[in-house]
Amino acid sequence: MINWKVILGIAKTHLLTKMKSTVTATLGVTFGIGAYITLVSFMTGLNAMLDDLVLNQTPHIHLYNEIRPSDKQPVDLLGNVANPLNVVHSIKPKQSQKKIHNALPILDYLKKNPQVKGATPQLRAQIFYLSGPIELGGNLVGVDIMEEVRLSNIQDNIVAGTPEALENNDNGILLGSGLADKMSLAVGDRVQISTVDGTIFPLKIVGIYQSGIAEIDNVQSFANLKTVQRILGKAENYVTDINIKLNNIADAEPLARKLEKQFKTKAVDINEANAQFETGSDIRNMITYAVSITLLIVAGFGIYNILNMLIYEKMKDIAILKATGFSGNDVQHIFMSQAMIIGLIGGVLGLIIGFVLSKLIDQTPFETEALPTITTFPVNYNIAYYGIGISFALISTFVAGYLPSNRAKKIDPVAILRGT
């Protein structure tokens, strides 16, 4: 039978009389766990922000017609020749329209699919922005703006004006922020655009769009789908792109392959589009984990050292306890409970310090041109990290305490009491 009251009483006395070592060991754990929480919250916060920055620009599945040569050239259709070796020079892309065939029925079909959260039509047009005699090349994207607001974070990127203003104005445009700077335009001004054919349209600026990625902001603007169709002189079913948002991002790849076959269009899923980005993300995560684990291991070694010292100092006490009827297991429990108390107190303090530091970072101003919606450093308050932190504090103190306490358990009282 283990008499926990007595064992904890002795452990408590040991910890209180050796206040200095106890505090040092506890602070070791506290700083380890605190640093872990702060670091992991901050780094994952940053990672999530960067992920959002790029991934939210990309739909889960993007349908469009790709301009490319036919897989089967006419000569391949010439069937019955033995061992043919066909050589075709100067292959040209297949003549076809940029628009997606049957775009409207496809949209209807997609909207009924339970895997799909929403599908939005887009029309991308090459245009020129006119500023006096200067022509700036760029593109104008016709969108169903309220659907985009529902499905993507486009609203965060509208730094002036509102999406509703665009919805309500047939000649409205959400101008890219880079373009607005170049042409010294603001909301309420008018901008003239010219299509590739040379037709000129005046549009009213109802908002400024800033994605944070300069390459996009310098060329891209948004207008209503109908406006762009009218500018290009196309019918209402003229849609060049369909962006699909899914309920579960994991369905993106198989569904993209299926849609590709079904509608004979190109379908790019999010992983394919951001393969490079994923790698960067993974590496950042790996660095986060490597640093965290190092911190936690260092804290663990601190505890191991201090407990080892404590047991060395308490050698005689251990022998006396054994001589007065305490078993090896009791002695081990005494030292294990000291380790666990240090781990628990240090761990909880660490969580608190980590939380406070995270809060501080969260309050720190962080304003950058590239990220219009961010005003302070991003922090991820995931409860799981706190769980991992406290578990690691307990596990590492357990391991760090186990080895020295096991030594204490095996101490031969006779050898020590006889002073040999």
Binding site: M1, N3, K5, V6, G9, I10, T13, H14, T17, K316, D317, A319, I320, L321, K322, A323, T324, G325, F326, S327, G328, N329, D330, P413, V414, L417, R418, G419
Partner: protein
């Protein structure tokens, strides 16, 4: 008559640094209420024998009976229990837990045994301290009292579980004559008043002469019974 403690053919070897036969065929018994001393020159194996008898050292051959029960070959866990129940031990040095108060030191073995409630244990501890005239020290830290007092606290601790036998490894070895006399008188009184069996290893001939029986050892064997 039955023995409180009985040793039969106990042999022990030290294996390091080289094989050395420390104890040779030790057999004897201690009756209830008997005050026995073991004497002998340094290195004759008397302390080694005492640690075997106290069940702390288990590396020996032969048989050891405590209250007619064979204890040889029992597990460390059982031996711990037997030790706290039946054997009180007083060392040459006081060996108190210096960070604990005198009262806590005395109570500790009883708390471990957990046969009585905390209130009863505290009452017992106070009784023992009173008997040894050191009750006023109960709440002092153990490192703040004098050597003679420490030894008396150690005796109180040894007695807290009402052991069948009290063992001492030169309990007066580190004390001046006045305090030695004191300890001897305490032992004597314990034997007479409570019928406690005592087994004490000592160098002090005056001390030994006044006890019931002297076992003399030389070179690991009993030469005078």
């Amino acid at each position: 008559m039955s023995f409180v403690l009985e040793a039969k053919n106990i042999n022990k070897h030290f294996h390091k640094p080289k094989d050395f036969h420390v104890l040779k065929n030790i057999s004897f018994g201690i009756k209830k209420g008997e005050f026995t001393t073991i004497m002998g020159k340094s290195g004759c194996g008397k302390s080694t024998l005492l640690y075997i008898l106290s069940t702390m050292d288990t590396d020996y051959s032969g048989e050891l009976f405590l209250k007619n029960e064979l204890v040889t070959g029992k597990s460390h866990k059982e031996l711990s229990r037997i030790r706290s129940e039946s054997i009180g031990f007083v060392f040459q040095f006081h060996y108190l837990l210096t960070e604990f108060s005198v009262l806590e030191n005395v109570m500790l073995p009883a708390k471990k045994l957990a046969k009585k409630t905390l209130a009863e244990i505290e009452q017992d501890a106070h009784d023992k301290l009173k008997m040894l005239h050191i009750e006023h020290l109960a709440h002092q830290k153990a490192y703040r009292i004098s050597g003679g007092e420490k030894q008396r606290v150690a005796i109180a601790r040894a007695l807290i579980n009402e052991p069948a036998i009290l063992m001492g490894d030169e309990p007066t070895g580190n004390l001046d004559s006045h305090n030695s006399e004191n300890v001897f008188n305490i032992f004597k009184r314990l034997k007479e008043d409570q019928g406690l069996s005592l087994l004490v290893v000592t160098h002090d001939e005056d001390f030994a002469k006044r006890t019931d029986r002297i076992i003399e050892m030389e070179d690991g064997a009993i030469i005078k019974y």
